[in-house]
Amino acid sequence: MTTILLAIVLGLFFGFALHRVGATSPHHIINMLRLKDLRLMKTILFAIGLSSVVLFLGLALGLINVGHISVKSAYVGVLIGGAIFGTGFAIGGLCPGTSLTAVATGRKDAMFFVLGGLVGAFAYMLSFDFISQTFLMDKIAGGKVTLAATGSAKYDALLTSVSGTAVAIAIGIALMAFAWWLPEDPFSKDKTHHNMVPAE
């Protein structure tokens, strides 16, 4: 029951945050992808960098149970699947999490996206038997690996000669610095045009 309570609290928080950063708006996502408005990219890069630094500090200090770490496998299908994903991401301006949250904010186009998503996931369920026998499932660099050592016995690290904490903090700080440096609208000559942001 505690797990279900945590699911409710953490889910509410994540959904709230996605809406507040503007990620539930396809307008903002499409303008991010065509490099017109990078505010959302700055937010996401910074969030990944900051959470990574705090996570690895927490692991180093023993404040976080290393068993909570969960690393996904790297295989050829991650790249190819990512490319298929990217195509739909650009057309729709939505991803799995933001489409469901956009439906909750009343977006009608997002409902069609979610329906398409259910059909797409079903198509994958039916094609998995075939795909699992192809090169798409070939592992890359051992599969479930991280750059920085997490301390978990389940996952190997690629960079072993340096402290995992140092590697992760360096990457995290680099991501935050990059987020800070990125301009919000990199190619705009006319700053007044930027006020034309519609509702979410």
């Binding site: 945590l6 928080f13 709230f16 945050a17 809406h19 950063v21 990512g82 469901l100 998503g117 987020a179």
Partner: protein, 197 residues
Amino acid sequence: MNARLPWLAGGVLLAMSFFLAVMLVKPIGVSTQFVIADAMAWNQLDNSIITKSAETKSGYASSNAYLNKSGGKYAKHAANPMNYSFIFVLAMMAGAGLSALLSKSNATPQQDAAEREMPQVWRQRFGSSKALRYTAAFGAGFLVLYGARMAGGCTSGHMMSGIMQTSLSGYIFTLGVFATAIPVAMMMFNSKSNGAV
């Protein structure tokens, strides 16, 4: 809806939600739940899809190879909707709905209603046909979830949670996504009328 935070405040809020999830339970992920929802519906129509089994690790098995993989983990979750990941996604929807209700719009009700049908950037480029936008959104959803399942995760699981843990798979997924998303978005949406770069 004028709820959007400045980039830095938004980044800190989002970082807190990733971090708290992994500290208290496990990293955030969403796209698997599309499979779980499909499996629930499929099993309603044909209850031979998911069965109890003494031979698998989860105690459940499926006639579908995908639901049956990893010891029948997905079959088990579809048979028991009250599990962490499924409830998390439902609560995530409630959280966004709540945020939208609590925020004030700085646009007119007509502008808000129009935006809920299609994003402004779409309307400027392709006009106001709802049929076109809804069909494209359906197709986009198909590609996104097919791709996410092939990759084993999505923006949440691979990009955010993955790179947070420095997972190799997270960087590979991100590379694959932006390799197509940026050129497709530019080709589709850039025109002189909407400030092409």
